[in-house]
């Protein structure tokens, strides 16, 4: 059965609706007639049956797939890569909701777009019937009928006021086979590209290219000196625990401070560092390495604040004396140690 397609062109909606009604009366089914226009005329305007679009359903499925993917990304990560989260829940709900929402919407809209292409078999290959006049505002009524009836239908179209009737033979149709080939090829190309990217990402294919931050020429902002506090900064109460910076408030060296320091030194330091601070206290034999010689070059080179830090935090086998000595007492001890070094 060789079908012929006839495209009648009409100037406006009223005459188009009229001719569609006449075609129906002539015994043509709704599926044999379609309308081509450059503006969306509603079905009611042209007396055409209401078209239902399945795209919403596909979009719904896409949204569900999105939910699943979103949950897989989030919960998959929580499960397979457990992180210490400091008492926070290992499976947090609010951040999950955000990610799942975005992926759901992504799934919905991509699916809608994909469905739109699929249902319309876009991109269209082949030469389906079309007339240039449509873009100038004409409404085309496309009738598909057997060859034998075509003459009668053409007459009907012309009588109904068609400004032109164009005839297309059965070869004028969309070529679905090419469409399947091209879409399949596109899918394969995308998959291949993805595989290639993964091979690169997992270093299966290596590109010799220095990527370490240490190789970077300029990382100035990470190397510069720590900034000094601006003038309006809130003053820091108590000693600063940072090497190279003066501790506040430092107790000035004075005979009374040295004397207090000597007493405290005797209680807290002497058993290891020795009476004269030379690292030869009674317990020194039990240590390896030996307690530091407080009169030696190394400790002489220390800043006061360095010694303060060692007393406060401990160092190596030496325990922190922060509980034994108040900050002021620590300064007294430091003043005494400095007097030993003279």
């Amino acid at each position: 059965m060789a079908d012929t397609q006839l495209l009648g062109l009409f100037n406006e909606a009223a005459s188009t609706a009229e001719v569609i009604e006449r075609l129906r009366r002539a015994g043509l089914g709704d599926e044999q007639v379609s309308v081509i226009s450059s503006v969306p005329y509603r079905s009611r305007m042209l007396r055409r049956p209401e078209i239902t679009s399945r795209i919403s359903a596909v979009a719904g499925i896409g949204a569900l797939v999105g939910v699943v993917i979103g949950l897989a990304i989030t919960f998959g990560t929580y499960l397979l890569n457990p992180l210490p989260v400091g008492g926070q829940p290992q499976f947090p709900i609010p951040p999950t909701l955000i990610v799942v929402f975005e992926v759901t919407m992504l799934g919905m809209m991509w699916a809608a777009f994909g469905a739109f292409l699929f249902i319309n078999r876009m991109p269209v290959f082949g030469q389906p019937p079309f007339s240039e006049d449509v873009v100038d505002g004409s409404i085309g009524v496309l009738v598909q009928a057997e060859e034998s009836r075509s003459a009668g239908i053409e007459r009907l179209l012309r009588e109904a006021g068609a400004s032109a009737v164009e005839r297309f033979d059965s070869s004028a149709r969309a070529n679905n086979r090419t469409w399947i080939k091209v879409m399949g090829g596109t899918g394969a190309a995308v998959t291949l590209a993805l595989v290639l990217v993964l091979l690169l990402a997992y270093d299966v294919i290596k590109i010799p290219f220095p990527t370490n931050m240490a190789d970077t020429v300029s990382i100035a902002h990470l190397q510069g000196p720590r900034l000094a506090a601006p003038a309006e900064a809130v003053p820091v109460q108590g000693p600063v625990f940072i090497a190279g910076q003066p501790a506040v408030p430092q107790v000035a060296s004075s005979p009374s401070s040295i004397q207090r320091g000597q007493v405290l030194f005797g209680i807290n330091c002497l058993m290891c560092h020795g009476e004269k601070g030379q690292g030869n206290g009674r317990l020194a034999t039990y240590f390896n390495p030996k307690p530091a010689d407080l009169t030696g070059e190394k400790v002489r080179a220390f800043a006061d604040s360095d010694i303060f830090l060692v007393i406060s935090l401990g160092s190596g086998q030496m325990p922190s004396l922060a509980e034994n000595l108040s900050p002021t007492s620590r300064w007294d001890v430091i003043n005494y140690v400095r007097s030993l070094q003279k």
């Binding site: 100037n11 406006e12 379609s34 081509i36 226009s37 450059s38 503006v39 969306p40 005329y41 509603r42 079905s43 078209i51 679009s53 795209i55 979009a59 990304i73 989030t74 990560t77 397979l80 890569n81 989260v85 990610v99 975005e102 919407m105 809209m109 991509w110 809608a112 777009f113 469905a115 739109f116 292409l117 249902i119 319309n120 991109p123 269209v124 290959f125 389906p128 006049d133 873009v135 505002g137 400004s163 969309a174 990217v197 990402a201 997992y202 990527t211 970077t216 300029s218 990382i219 902002h221 990470l222 510069g224 720590r226 900034l227 000094a228 506090a229 601006p230 309006e232 900064a233 809130v234």
Partner: protein, 486 residues
Amino acid sequence: MAEQASLESPVWNRPLPDDPELAAQVREIREKHLLQDARPPREVAEKVLGPMARLGRVFWLALIVLGGLTATWLATWAYQAYQGMGVTGLNRTIMWAPYIVNFVYFIGIGHAGTFISAALRVLKFEWRAPISRAAESLTVFALLVAFTMPLIHMGRVWKFYWMLPFPNQRQLWPNPRSPIFWDMTAIFTYLTCSMLFMYLGILPDIAIAREKASGWRKRLYTVLALGWRGTDREWKHLDTTLNIFSYGIIPVMFSVHTVVSWDFAMTLQPGWNSSIFGPYFVVGALYSGVGAVIIIMAILRKALHLEYFLREEHFNAMGKFLLILSFTWVYFYFNDYLLPWYHKEPILTVIFRLFTSGWAAPLWFTMLIANILIPWATLWSRKVRSSIPALVGVALLVQVGMYIERYLIVAVTLGYPELPFDWAVYVPRLPEILITLGVFAFVVLGITVLSRLVPIIPIWEVVEGQLLQGTRRIGRAIFPAKTEAD
């Protein structure tokens, strides 16, 4: 073939009333409203497609200048990637500055396109028809730029894929608890869906262009049109798909800028840690975005001679929109300002004093003048809203104001963490300045080129709108009337 005269149906050839007084009224309505001023589709298409193909001297000059700036951006980026982030003015305290400011700004600009296109489509505001595509193209290019900003900011940009949701070769997993990860998903969704949304709307117009064009344009449009013919089934599916996108993309749009604000609000940085940041950022985004659309509309109108499409009524409507958004933005800004001001947390007091009387005061007051004082003083007047130069001037000021606002939030506030010895000031250096200039140029370049490649006015939407509008006479007066076809 159809004869010229017989093509003209009553829709675009409605006769004037015989009564001269009524005829004058109809003429006035047609002059004012695009959708009442129906012309044959052939003529409408010609008004869009004609200027598109005529590339004048100004176009080539713009192409060279903007292209040069864009090339400078890419070269600077390459230099910075090779040298390391040390070439910028970033310091240890202010590690988020110019690129993140641009990021927030361009994401914001990207909001108006979708809002105008999707929200006004859902609400059936017909006047949006000629504006929507220019707004969408602004969205797409602004989002592209916004998407590159974190990459530029990253330094070692080739590690970008570490953000993607799969464990990389070092078994480093992107953390879905992090706002940066939310950002990734939100912007990816918004960017790709905005592009698809725009493309869907363009399809019927590209099909029109395909029939009218010749040479390489014909080949290009034949591919891009995907074989669109405009059958009733195609139209129905397009309508359904566009509706799904419209309803889907509006919540995504809100989520995107909210998530961007959470990048800031989820930290403990004083001045950022605010629960109002989400809506405040969204409104700010719409505010600057609508302003940017006004500027783009004016440029396109001039460059492509779109006087028929973009009329006083559109600028007037956009001006009103801008004013309303200004009110809303101020409401949120005041909220964000008042609470910390009231409870006087010491560090916030330091930041406020910096804005009101410190070194940042000139910036802060410029922002207030540009964002509040001038829009409020001018936009209430119909005269200003209808005058394109005046409205564009206000919109430009809003851009300046909103850019400064983001700069103050990101590059200035960040300098004042809780510990005073870390306080710092950021001073931009040449790379940031060149890159920022370059990306602005790129957005304009993108729209310039795109507007010459695809119909920047949605022909089918305009013709459809004209089909559905007419006049209605009540007594001795004639009014524009709209048909609710759906």
